[in-house]
């Protein structure tokens, strides 16, 4: 009796999860359909005929849909952005966690205030600044400007505070300077923190839509989200191509997420618990 009840509940859970994820499965299914197959009615869950035509079309550099190029742009921008975020946040968090200096309170206050600044207020002036720097229509415009976030500083500071002070003091007695302590002791012990922060920065940059939409103009310079939006805006909407493009944009982040789920989830949860 009890067994049946729990297995019933379990089946219900599985059914709900399947329904929840079904749109993503349908996206994958559609990407293997033909152009007419993607828009035929009633919609089917099995591509008939099964074809990889959509992928061949969007990945062919000769066509006006340089999805592979967008993929490389996204990969490059998101990786550089993640590295920059981790480097800047770690550097800034260390003195806030471990050193005593005049102006520390002020800096901590600045970081907190950053959390209160709604991004919308930065859009228009940032466009002007990026233009003055000559960064419009350049991937650097989506790598650098958002790299000084408050969340990263908080997260890394939290990690540094959890490292036993004795380790650093022992190194100091041995004659290590601050930089050596930071790079040889603190950073190696903070790998989980850096992984979490880097992963979240990578994901948010990979998925960012508004900013790349307005600062990247050339088709060959676009990132995947901006490029896909462009593809959708073209006259005859080709859903087979769009779904294949969406799959290409999804696979790297889904793989990262499923293998490093622990870090993503912990990072998000921490943002709440520590906020």
């Amino acid at each position: 009796m009890k067994l049946t009840k729990s297995s019933l509940r379990y089946s219900l859970l599985i059914a709900l999860a399947l329904i929840y994820i079904s749109p993503i499965i349908f996206m994958l299914v559609t990407s293997f359909k033909t152009q007419s197959g993607a828009t035929s009615y009633p919609p089917t869950w099995i591509p008939d005929p099964f074809t990889t035509q959509a992928y061949e079309t969007i990945l062919n550099p000769a066509n006006d849909t340089p999805v592979f190029r967008w993929f490389l742009n996204s990969m490059f921008a998101a990786t550089m952005h993640a590295l920059l975020v981790v480097a800047i946040a770690s550097l800034a968090a260390y003195p806030l966690a471990r050193l005593k200096f005049k102006g520390k309170k002020l800096i901590q206050g600045l970081v907190v205030i950053t959390l209160l600044v709604p991004p919308v207020i930065l859009i228009i002036p940032s466009f002007n600044i990026v233009n003055d720097l000559g960064w419009l229509n350049n991937l650097i415009a989506i790598i650098v400007p958002t790299a000084a976030g408050a969340f990263g500083v908080f997260l890394m500071r939290q990690f540094f505070l959890s490292i036993p002070l004795e380790l650093e003091e022992a190194a100091r007695i041995d004659g290590a300077n601050r930089w050596q302590i930071f790079t040889k002791i603190v950073l190696p012990l903070s790998k989980p923190g850096m992984a979490t922060l880097g992963l979240l920065a990578f994901l948010s940059n990979w998925n960012d839509f508004l900013w790349p939409l307005f600062v990247l103009f050339d088709n060959s310079l676009k990132t995947l989200p901006a490029g896909l939006a462009n593809l959708q805006g073209s006259n005859a909407v080709r859903y087979d191509l769009l779904m294949a493009g969406a799959v290409v944009a999804s696979v790297p982040v889904l793989i990262l997420f499923f293998f490093l789920q622990r870090f993503v989830v912990e990072g998000v949860a921490r943002s709440g618990v520590k906020g």
């Binding site: 999860a17 800034a92 200096f101 207020i121 002036p125 994901l203 896909l228 889904l254 989830v265």
Partner: protein
């Protein structure tokens, strides 16, 4: 503590300011200055000018752009306030759902069963995909000629001719529904972390006292979630009030401009038509509302907590 003492005694001996912390802080401060502090000032400055990005002359107009925003019949009054109302509709419709459903999901996930991490991953997965992918996907599913949604509705005998992307009020159902589906996992994960922080002993004690499930929820779970609840509410409200991609990609702000949100209007004014003075003034008014909202929520939810405890 020991560290603090040696630091200050060292500083006293040297008698000169320690530059080491500032070397560490320099990259952060540089980016902060150029891309956070300076833009806020520049934005305020731009909002005081008739700042057309494409023209060399950008005359000073004082508070003119703000006056226009508050003068019925001006070029910016109607579009801006309609977009603010649209933003309000979306926020009011989506926030309660994004507070309640993820709590249910988190409570299920908080139980011990096999494959829990896989379930958690499934509910979080859409959030990992980003707004461009999920809106393109849903535009396809919600198409009223060949979309899966109307087909499924037809199968179960419900009206199957709804134009989910082009008719009112169906567009709001689509925008809110897709947003809930997309971001539900994010809030769930935050709830789940808070649920796991509630000591098990409290539940055990409640069981000993003969409390049923509902009573445990009211007297153990709810108080335990209180600190996180204010935070999730604020986060969700702000995210909803900043909605852009869903509307831009799924409905193009339509029908007409019925689902054009405030940020959509600001980018349209400032980055498409390059009327940056108007757009900056709009973003300051929106910011004012966001800060007001945050303050009200923050103190509202805190007060309740004080009153009860």
């Amino acid at each position: 503590m020991i560290e603090t003492a040696t630091q200050s005694s060292l500083a006293r001996k040297k008698k000169k300011p320690d530059i080491v912390p500032w070397i560490f802080l320099a990259p952060y401060l540089a980016l902060f200055s150029v891309f956070i502090a300076y833009p806020i000032g520049l934005g305020a400055w731009i909002s005081l000018h008739a700042w057309d990005f494409t023209l060399p002359r950008r005359p000073f107009v004082g508070l003119g752009n703000y006056e226009k925003l508050f003068t019925p019949g001006s070029t910016t009054f109607e579009p801006f306030w309609q977009s603010m109302v649209n933003t309000g509709i979306f926020t009011i419709a989506s926030t309660p759902l994004l507070l309640a459903i993820p709590l249910l999901v988190a409570m299920v996930m908080n139980q011990n069963f096999k494959g829990r991490n896989l379930f958690r991953a499934i509910y979080f997965a859409p959030y990992v995909l980003g707004v461009a992918v999920i809106t393109i996907l849903w535009r396809y599913l919600l198409d009223n000629n060949f979309g899966l949604m109307n087909y499924l509705l037809d199968l179960v005998g419900l009206p199957s001719d709804t134009a989910w992307l082009t008719s009112l009020p169906a567009v709001w159902v689509s925008l809110v529904g897709v947003t809930v589906w997309w971001t539900l996992g994010f809030n769930s994960v935050i709830y789940l972390a808070a649920l796991q922080d509630i000591p098990k002993e409290l539940y055990e004690a409640a069981t000993v006292d003969g409390a049923n499930g509902m009573q445990k929820f009211r007297h153990v779970t709810m108080p335990g979630l209180k600190p996180i609840f204010a935070y999730i509410t604020l986060l969700t409200l702000i995210a909803s009030a900043n909605m852009f991609g869903q509307s831009y990609l799924m409905t193009q702000g339509g029908p007409g401009t019925a689902t054009r949100t405030a940020i959509y209007q600001i980018t349209e004014t400032g980055l498409r038509n390059f009327k940056m003075g108007d757009a900056s003034a709009m973003s300051f008014v929106l910011t004012f509302f966001l800060l007001l909202l945050s303050t009200v929520v923050f103190f509202g939810l805190r007060e309740k907590k004080d009153a009860k405890s």
